[in-house]
Subunit: 382 residues, 4 copies
């Protein structure tokens, strides 16, 4: 149990700056009181999440949503607030030029502009000390015939190679995939196989990022996790949950058993320290800071259950072909209520055993609602 606790104590989950800003659907973005108006205020909120959970010591940035003049100063601001700058996320989907794609656009001028932005993100990494560059491309087409599927792969490969070659030191590239949205016919990196194949050609610094909401219905995500870990190509998770498409609900909210199965494969594949855990969610209707805290608790609970699986008993049942017994061992861990264990761990670490309740009592929410009046609230596109 001490070993379980030690692993849980060491788990770090990154929160993204954009989770603290307004988000929504194409139908409506509902605004919330107290939403940050600047990168610094987003960092302040991320620091709160870390203060209450002890598990979120870094915050991911999104360029240009978090564009500032002095990234070194922003990194220092974060450190002073108690967190560090984590992954740098590029954005090549919100400029009018990118209507028909960014790095795969048929127009070479647009492709150049997109690649320049990606290189600029590496500059930000240099300035902030961030290790990881996360690439998500909305590139794709809406109509059959609209563009050439294969030519777009050639353009993608060229852009990725250019950016990859710019990385130095321990910098890494994380290549995300997504089935669809915003492109509705083809997406240029639609599945793990595509991302894996490109990463393989790029080299060791390039690994796959698995966003748990980016798959076709019925996809077995934990299989992908196990497979990529076996290949040494699982770099990171973007955690969230979904009932339908890329719903971006709080991780563990839609299918907590699936989250447990995913975390079990991470544990099984010795990935707990190797793989980056990140949240990538949209708190469209719920409060954002406690939404992030709840999400971190959900990941911790799933991890605790995964660590509690009796691996020896499981292997014995598996090897003997006893289907029911093996499933029973697995489910026994899942059915365990690990909240007392996590409460105990938090108390030992000087944290409140119930981070959501503690945050609610802290008065921070009321404070930012009162103070952050005027200015433009941050959000997607802001």
């Amino acid at each position: 149990m001490d070993a379980v606790k030690a692993k849980l104590a060491g788990q770090r989950i990154e929160t993204p700056s954009w989770a603290y800003g307004n988000s929504g659907t194409r139908f409506k973005v509902f605004t919330q009181p107290g939403v940050p108006r600047s990168p610094e205020e987003k960092i302040d909120d991320a620091a709160q999440v870390h203060a209450f959970t002890g598990a979120a010591p870094s915050v991911a940035l999104h360029i240009p949503w978090d564009k500032v003049d002095d990234y070194g100063a922003l990194a220092r601001y974060a450190r002073d607030a108690g967190v560090v700058v984590g992954t740098i996320n590029s954005n090549v989907f919100q400029d009018d030029d990118y209507k028909l794609g960014s790095v795969t656009n048929p127009d070479p001028a647009v492709r150049r502009k997109a690649v320049d932005h990606l290189l600029e993100c590496v500059d930000v990494m240099d300035a902030t000390g961030s290790r990881d560059l996360k690439l998500w491309f909305s590139d794709g087409t809406n109509y059959p015939g609209q563009d050439d599927i294969r030519d777009r792969q050639d353009r993608l490969a060229e852009a990725l190679a250019t950016v990859y070659n710019r990385l130095t030191g321990d910098q890494r590239m994380l290549l995300e995939y997504k089935l669809f949205e915003p492109a509705f016919y083809t997406t240029d990196v639609p599945d793990w196989g595509t991302s894996y194949a490109h990463c393989l050609k790029l080299g060791e610094r390039a690994t796959v990022c698995v966003d748990t909401g980016h798959h076709a219905p019925g996809t077995n995500i934990e299989f992908i996790v196990a497979f990529l870990l076996r290949e040494g190509k699982l770099g990171a998770f973007d955690f969230n949950s979904r009932f339908y498409a890329d719903d971006d609900l709080m991780v563990g909210a839609a299918d907590p058993f699936q989250l447990f199965r995913i975390l079990y494969e991470v544990v099984r594949g010795d990935g707990l320290e190797l793989v980056s855990f990140m949240l990538d969610q949209c708190h469209n209707i719920e409060l954002k800071i406690p939404g992030q805290i709840r999400s971190i608790c959900n990941v911790q609970e799933a991890t605790a259950k995964a660590l509690l699986v009796d691996r020896a008993a499981l292997k014995s049942a598996q090897d003997s072909g006893d289907v029911l017994a093996a499933n029973d061992v697995f489910m026994d861990a899942y059915n365990t209520d690990v909240r007392p264990l996590l409460a105990e761990l938090r108390t030992e670490r000087g944290l409140d055993p119930d981070p959501v309740a503690a945050y609610r009592r802290s008065g921070y929410q009321q404070k930012i609602a009162a103070e952050r009046v005027g200015g433009e609230q941050a959000g997607w596109g802001a």
Copy 2:
């Protein structure tokens, strides 16, 4: 063949005012030159679509996107432009009050506000002479436990009854359903069964609206069409197409064979004159007016093929249990190139045989791009 032509000549497909404004995804709305800045300019564009196709004599309005002081004047404007005001679409999803729902909101004050808006839409119908009120509710929940599923049905039933009772003359209510989005856990009218059950209780004026993009993967839409026509409860279509979720691509663009099968059931169920055909699409990256024209052509082509099915030969093969022969008869109609037939029909009616090409040659697109500078472009939420 003359009977086929007569039926094709009589087919009317409504275009929606919002199709002419900007649209997009949650990631980005790309603007286009020449987009309308007022309800009147949207009507002008709709009139163009009718001018080139001869098949789109009415335009649907969306309140409050098309809010004006004098709806009688707007209706006259439309008539002068060569079209009439069609279906009135309510909007109870873009006000901050509707974050947790409109007519099913737990807060009775919000429910009242929503119902008042729906009643206001009936006023607009009175003023414009529109026959149909189309109701789509984004109401639902994102998280298990967020609200009581059954209470929300009670609230929905109450609101629908209030609005239904306000209808007079030949006014009708069309109740749309949708699997998900923007709600990501439950939707209060998620499927045709729910819409049907409510319409049944409301009475004869209430019928179901089938949006071709609002179903779960694998749903057989033509079955629903056949079933509702048999029950006398199919009121209208919102046409569009999709590869994944509610992609809102041009109708017929993703699965033209499905569109044919749907139209075949309409023809089979004697629905060609009874059911309202409407387009409800988002031309996010393609030009809007020719996108509407192409869509109308697609519906016409599918209808022509449906009318060409040799019903006697089909019945004979079906009755004898000859699976391959029955399928062959059906596919023979689908595989026929009906574009020459439609070109001939258009020529006979004094139209250009190729409406898209004719529009492109007309100079209208260049004209609006030049003229409609300044002001705020219309769009979702504008």
Copy 3:
């Protein structure tokens, strides 16, 4: 807690005779030692499940798989074994005549044969004292054009009415629906709406049976449950679980959180005593008797959690629009480990606290494996 225990103690879950026979996929049926060779041996196995769980006092029959000369004698055999005959399931899909359908077949002679079989099932109900007739039709088509969708609805309605009118006393009809399989283009009762519409016309004795594996991907089953309970039209569940299609895995094995949400709506809608709970699963690779016992435990655990939801706290959070708090109340019940509670309840009722382990220790499995040698093993089609 006493009230929760009382409700749990009262819950009855029917097991089906065919669960004890061999099953498989189209690729292979793997045989198991000890599988029953007669309806009586199936009843013996069902009695074991009841002996260890105290929650499975009835066994469903499938005609003609359980065809015997004297159904009265079979009912007495069951009573002597400690169980009673439950639902009668008709089978109109395994005769060569039904290749193109049973009650919806284009050939009236085949339709007559199918209806005659259904009426024979009511005779079996009369003879056994069974209350419920469960109808599942595999009827549908594989190819567009193969048969007329609407004609098939007419034939279906006529057959259902004939059988419905044959019911007497407290006999009921349960109409199951299924998205697809074995029909691959249309299914004649594909969704709850179709079943509901037919039941509504038939009358009060006809209600919908929800098989948890029979929906399109993404369907919110608990919404259907809540809706049908509100309408007084939810008659029964066929429980099983699935990751993909109609996988027929053990209930609760694929998505235990979904099972909890379904049971919550049952509790919320006062359906715990009204609705019939039945298992309908295929233990293709795991042992059948302990598979049934495990499944019953899974339903009990989900029910216990559903009963533990703090309804007052939930309503308060819902009414105040606190999304996170409401979800927290809901998840608190789900995250509770209810196995100690159920163990306590079983001990109080004189049962072993761990039914699966007790069964494994009992020696019954070894006994039947040794005794049931020779003869033809029961199975689908046997």
Copy 4:
């Protein structure tokens, strides 16, 4: 047009021996009169398909369904009948030993047995002169925890390497993938990425086989085709069609537009001569020989349309970013009725312009129905 005709004339589509035997679902296998009782009779039927289409010169075998003492004699029999032996398909899913897997079974003795069978298939290739070994594994698990996902990959890799190293001359290995069924939780080769990764490690002789029915809902198959062709790793197609899962309907019957898009990517990627085209379908309710003929016609029609795409006009529209124009060029080819072109081509080649009608007139169906009485009909498992 001559170039188009030449390419169409050169297209060869392999039919599988098992298509001529009985098939069905887990619910029922419906028998048909005239079904073959031996490998030789299957070859006779395959020869008929070739005689009427001129496009099916080879027949795939399935071992052990087509097990004979002398494979050299069987190959001669085929040549005498006018066809040759094509791909050898292994079967490691229908022996009781394979209940928990074949090459990935936890039991090393079972794995050895499975590998031995695969090696025996290579012997059959040596004896028949067949070039391709197609591997489909039903291996997977039904329940979480049942077996170790990653260990199974290790076992798979080892088995594949053993068989790969046994290949000689121009022999190739085709590795098929499938999302699910008969395994319902994990499948060991569930997607193209898994197959691709294994093939990459094996070497140049190993390529991916794309079965068009083996994907998750919403998967863009033509993207996979384009990607694999770009990588030089697309070896073969198993053609069929589906509305839901692996329905195995006639290719082109469910979504002819998708088939066109797939064939377009084949043409675009210069794969028309490189890639093997095979049918893999179940004619559960329709006649088998005309079902195969119809399927071949469907592939030919889709190929003809793909060849008719005006590539220069398409590229011009794509490069200029004209979404509608590019889609129009693409759809223009699809909307063309190519049946006259194919009829002309057949007449030029001395074939009947309508192969299905010609077969129906030929009397062969009546002949085999009369002659093939007695003996055991071939089918899955026979």
